[in-house]
Symmetry: C2
Subunit: 115 residues, 2 copies
């Protein structure tokens, strides 16, 4: 079970540009910058309840986007395949294959790190 | 330069669920089923101009989504890395590494084919 904070941080990274500006700001402040609802309310000059409602709407939008576009789901599959490649490469034998194995690891790491 | 038909077919596959239903239908009929504007107009009981306008709006939406979400761009990067892995694996030497090389190819193919 992944932590909620991590999930919304990733979904914001993927779909944040599709959110309304104030919703995107609230997700960013709450999940990435670790601000409290009260701090965000003061910062944006709206009520704490207003921040809470906007946060819930934004979370719902991000989940809806993931259900429709499935970028996170795709990325998990790609990462798993790339991690398997890295494990397999480690078991390649022979001095002459070392350079190739290193190059394969670099390519697989690109898939994992560009999520 | 990729063919327009191919690009919109892929973008529809990624973001079609975000389009309004009639726009999604028009993109599908035009780019996937190879229907003409007149055929779609007759089928949907609207004017040919109406179909054309909705098609252009739908195309613009798909391009906007790609500019914001960049799924196609990400997928191209992953595919390139996976194709490099397949090429590199082919140059691994030695009888004892054959099974590993085959397994690596299977993992890399997952990345390319699950786009």
């Amino acid at each position: 079970m992944l932590e909620k904070k991590f999930i919304f941080s990733v979904l914001y990274d993927y779909y944040g540009d599709l959110l309304k500006e104030n919703q995107a700001n609230i997700i960013d402040l709450y999940y990435n910058q670790d601000c409290s609802l009260s701090e965000i309310a003061e910062d944006m000059n709206i009520s704490r309840q207003g921040v809470y409602d906007a946060l819930k709407r934004a979370e719902k939008s991000l989940i809806d986007y993931e259900e429709k576009i499935k970028l996170y789901e795709k990325y998990e599959k790609y990462s798993e395949a790339a991690e398997n490649i890295i494990k397999l490469v480690s078991s390649i034998e022979g001095e002459s294959n070392k350079t190739i194995a290193e190059k394969i690891k670099v390519e697989a790491a690109k898939i994992i790190n560009e999520g």
